[in-house]
Symmetry: C4
Subunit: 218 residues, 4 copies
Amino acid sequence: MALPPVPHEFASSLRTSRIEALSDAVFGIVMTILVLEIPVPEIEHPTAQDIPRALLRLWPMFLGYFVSFIVLGMSWVAQHEQFHFVKRADQALLWMTMLFLMLIATVPFTTTLLGRYLDQQAVVVLYGAHLLAISLVHHATWRYATRNRRLVDPHIDLEDVKIHLRRSLATPVIYLIAIGLSFMSTVLSVVVYAFVPLVYGVLPSIYAKREGSRPRKS
Amino acid sequence: MALPPVPHEFASSLRTSRIEALSDAVFGIVMTILVLEIPVPEIEHPTAQDIPRALLRLWPMFLGYFVSFIVLGMSWVAQHEQFHFVKRADQALLWMTMLFLMLIATVPFTTTLLGRYLDQQAVVVLYGAHLLAISLVHHATWRYATRNRRLVDPHIDLEDVKIHLRRSLATPVIYLIAIGLSFMSTVLSVVVYAFVPLVYGVLPSIYAKREGSRPRKS
Amino acid sequence: MALPPVPHEFASSLRTSRIEALSDAVFGIVMTILVLEIPVPEIEHPTAQDIPRALLRLWPMFLGYFVSFIVLGMSWVAQHEQFHFVKRADQALLWMTMLFLMLIATVPFTTTLLGRYLDQQAVVVLYGAHLLAISLVHHATWRYATRNRRLVDPHIDLEDVKIHLRRSLATPVIYLIAIGLSFMSTVLSVVVYAFVPLVYGVLPSIYAKREGSRPRKS
Amino acid sequence: MALPPVPHEFASSLRTSRIEALSDAVFGIVMTILVLEIPVPEIEHPTAQDIPRALLRLWPMFLGYFVSFIVLGMSWVAQHEQFHFVKRADQALLWMTMLFLMLIATVPFTTTLLGRYLDQQAVVVLYGAHLLAISLVHHATWRYATRNRRLVDPHIDLEDVKIHLRRSLATPVIYLIAIGLSFMSTVLSVVVYAFVPLVYGVLPSIYAKREGSRPRKS
């Protein structure tokens, strides 16, 4: 069977706005169903202390939820910034985004695993590897989209591109270090997963804002 | 490792429209999955009365669902109004919104808890504290966004700002009172959670509309 | 405590586009989670016939799913058409929409109940009452929005308004009849729930299209 | 009861943008809840090997998830391309889209079935039939929308239309072959479901892009 050729217009018909809409739906759902995995205590005829105690015993689930929510928030912001620069989509970018969303959609699975077995190093390493994969796909997307200004604004500042590439490589490096830390303490490792990127990524940009809202180039 | 500086454009690249899209997804999902937590009765060979009776016994779950749906509706409207005035986003606003959405996303957990243990005061207080936290983050977002007209329209009416700040502070005050009421009756407390803000926030504005649709400044 | 007055701009700040976005999220989720309630058969070491047989035994669940999907589809289209005409929102319209969405969000509960107890008349009546409530809120929203052209285009054709009001009243009438039919046969009643509105609402409009795509007023 | 006539404006009031929004919500949710069906292992006092082993035993669930995610990704892209060309909606297109979305929404059911009974040929055939139905509805939608340029741009290139029709027919043909392969090996059949369309649909279009980004008509 001779297959018909692929028309060229296909690639250009992929509007980034609809990729963003799909992404927002996936992120919104993942952020919301994460909490469904935390089991609501079921106690018959509880005393006044039973339920607070049962909730406190769930702390590893809440920690896992909190860390994953922050990681998802950062990933959403990062993808958000990316699509501020990416002006066109082609099939490769689309499927890199699909891979990215598949990794985002599976966060509830590894988060539940983490909440149940926070003391198991294999689980903490797997969770870290999951976050590592998310950040590497994100970095690869930057690299693909900006190479020869393939899918970005043709007048984009090359200095900006370099900064984004280096920054998007910093997160996987932090995850690698955090995975290593799991040999010392699994809880420490999990805390580093969320808070080092947060501190590194968010605090300086608030600081940068305060320091001066002067545009760099003007 | 010397980390690269954060480019200034980052903050300005955060479009409020996409924050709203993520919020709509989260609210839509939470409103919908709330009902999944109500267990559909499973009875083998039921008589004609068995199922109506089993449904009636679920009334605390339905009350919890109803109260949470109204609270979510009010929160959605409140955030909706806020983003009518907020014209720009920075990293701090974004993470305040993330915290807001995290609190919204966890409503199904405390709602299920409430539906199961409506007679436990600790649970009713926890549910109230959850609503209190949502309303405080909402108030803090108003305060942050409007201070020195940071993220709002530079020509915004300062009188309007004051009204919004005071109004967004009234809801947490009501929640504090309702938490106090739980020492008298847990059901009363739950009813106050939903209906006082509704009566206070919605009825007067319908009234205001009827009274005259004349714009205040013209 | 003297509460501050409600500013007039509140009502006008409610953009219908965001109400539509929230509605689309709710409809999309309900349509999707409906299927989660159908239990996937769990059989250890099944023979070749076991799974097909187990699936066939699930037919009441599939019927319930199918009927609810069609009802949701019709409700979505109906709300879609409504917001084509509704140009502004006020607090009352917003809370009518919230009530509408709450009724939509609870469809999975009554659908699962229906799938489990298709032979119980009380369940079929409850399901019908649920659909009736949805269609009545929809009708009330038309009535509210169009009275004195309150929230619609001021140049709307009054003849169109009348047609919409009558049409949106036809669906509840059909549901009432179908509820009555449940005294004869519960399966018949369920089939009427979905297919009479479909046949009445969809077929004639396809026919109308074929007959001539001439605009009525030109 | 004389039913009022259906006004002509109904059909034209169906904006494709809102159909796309509903579709994005459905796809986003299905992609995300797919993973909820994979059971997170529950082991009390696990040894270091227990959890990795339990995860490895889940490989048929992960394969099913992966295949369904790719199929959903392809379906989303395909619908995306379709609505790039479809400029108007009528009731028939709307209900074809509803049928399409109903088939998409039920993917988690057949995927879970597949993950549990990957060795049962009946299940693999059912899953294939599900994918076949999705691709046939997609093809029928192209055929309906493009016949006499009914719902597409009146200046659309007829050569393009032919290519889309033939291409959208190639996928069902591949699914039919893959269903046949299930008589030899169920795993092979499942792999063909996802990867043949991927290789056929995605690789050539990347190739086409590299070969030259010259527009075909200029």
